[in-house]
Amino acid sequence: MSSGAERPTWTSHLRRQVASMPPEKLLPDTQPVYVASWIYVFGALTIGAFIVVLLSGAVIAMAGPSWWHHSSFGHFINSTHLWSTEFFFAFMVIHLWGKFFMAAWRGRRRLTWVTGAVAFLISIPIAFTGYLSQQNFDSQWIGGQAKDGINATGAGAFFNVLNFGQMLLWHAVLLPLFVGLLIAGHVILVRRRGVVPPLPGKGGA
């Protein structure tokens, strides 16, 4: 706390936040003994899949959205974009169930759960807008069907699934940016609070 005379500023507040995360805490090379299970790998695998999704998407972005329909290399890159997405969701869901059964929100770690859960929910429209941006039969059909669901919520008036330009930008810019920031916050929270200890064992409180 600052003394009575010097009132805290936003700047000093941010400095304290940054100072509370020294490099040894952000990137430790030891962990408590209980951090010893395959389940801990799934967070890292989810990050790995997210990176592969971003890289394959970046290659498609460089050549433009129609490229992969008439280039066999483009089609291969599209396949990697699809499959890394499938792995991203698969690993994320295993990670999620693991954290649920560990009640990993205990001890001021609730925000870690919340950021993860929101990242999961926002990943769904990333995949969905990706399907809409494919410019193929699947996009046409999904757009025609999905409009009814979204229109029923009133959101269809502003989020028009039949507007290709709008969907492509949500898919390639807005939503990934948002999920990327959430993942960063999520991981910083994990480091900041430390990995949650085991639940009290048999006969424990």
Partner: protein, 320 residues
């Protein structure tokens, strides 16, 4: 008894002071990324990815001209899916799904993407052709200056006769009847569609660059052709289609719960299924985010011994 360094009920609020082990986070993330990269490349080489050609208005009108004309006449006489849709496309009293009781977010938000079906899908495109076709100009003039009751009489007669239509190339022949100008209008529209002109007309605007396919996609969605293709690819809503994609690919498996509701009553038979299911999923999503705050739900992990499996080494030592 618990071993020193392995406290059996560590306080999750305070930093751990027990035993530590070596752990290389960066190596873990790097190897994880490489593993995913290899898995991804493997699956891509083995399974590839689907890419079915889009349907065009030209391919639709060639493959199923009867369906195309049925849809076009329904746009002209305002009975199509889009014309009767309500918000956000058209003003139709009482249309729009209800969330609960008589409350409809769809109606509250209202019409934001206005579509005048007869003009957008039939009359405006025909006026482009009419610029070089004086006979069509006359026919269009006759239709547009006629009374609504005459227009409806013609379109109804045309719709009734369509099942008996004979198609040859891009021309259509109907049994003799009182179709007025609707007969030549629809013949011209079919020819325009077959030639690809309608594809262009539906995406063009007063601007040069295009990125919005709302009108063309609404028109396709109003027809039966797209749906029949989707049905043969197990993509319809009643076939769990929302989580499927073309071909044998995993699709959006994470939509299983959302898709599930559409298969079961009361939703499978409700006119307001979309609004109700979205409302329900909004509640479930909020609950999912809030699990750590919800008494009962947040205690489930204590009752299910999966955690004993995850931390089995730790408990073995701590309980020794």
């Amino acid at each position: 008894m618990s071993t020193p360094g392995y406290p059996i009920a560590p306080d999750p609020n305070v930093p751990w002071t027990g035993a530590l082990r070596r752990y290389d986070l960066i190596k873990e993330v790097v190897i994880a990324t490489l593993v995913v990269l290899l898995l991804t490349i493997g699956c891509s080489l083995i399974f590839s990815s689907p890419d079915d050609k889009p349907v065009t208005i030209a391919s639709w009108s060639a493959a199923d001209p009867g369906d195309f004309l049925t849809t076009a006449v329904s746009e002209l006489n305002n009975t199509s899916g889009t014309a009767t849709y309500g918000p956000p496309y058209t003003h139709v009293a009482g249309s729009g799904q209800n969330l609960i009781g008589g409350i409809s977010l769809q109606r509250i938000v209202g019409v934001h993407i206005p579509i005048k079906a007869p003009q957008v899908f039939v009359l405006d495109p025909l006026h482009i052709v009419a610029q070089t076709d004086p006979a069509l100009t006359t026919v269009l003039g006759e239709y547009e200056s006629a009374s609504t009751s005459d227009q409806t009489k013609w379109t109804d007669a045309y719709t009734a006769a369509l099942p008996k239509a004979i198609f040859k190339g891009s021309s259509v022949t109907l049994p003799a009847g009182h179709y007025g100008p609707v007969g030549p209008m629809m013949s011209a529209l079919l020819a325009q569609a077959r030639a690809g002109g309608l594809d262009g007309a539906l995406i063009s605007s007063d601007r040069f660059y295009q990125s919005d396919f709302t009108r063309a996609l609404l028109f396709l969605a109003d027809g039966g052709y797209l749906e029949s293709l989707a049905g043969s690819q197990h993509l319809q809503g009643s076939q769990w289609g929302m989580m499927n994609e073309t071909g044998n690919y995993p699709g959006q498996a994470w939509l299983w719960l959302y898709t599930f509701w559409y298969q079961v009553p009361p939703f499978s038979t409700s006119d307001n299924a979309d609004a109700q299911i979205w409302g329900l999923m909004a509640l479930f999503s909020a609950a999912f985010i809030c699990i750590p705050f919800i008494p009962g739900l947040r205690s489930i992990p204590r009752a299910v011994p999966v955690y004993r499996l995850i931390w089995r080494d730790y408990y073995r030592r701590a309980e020794r």
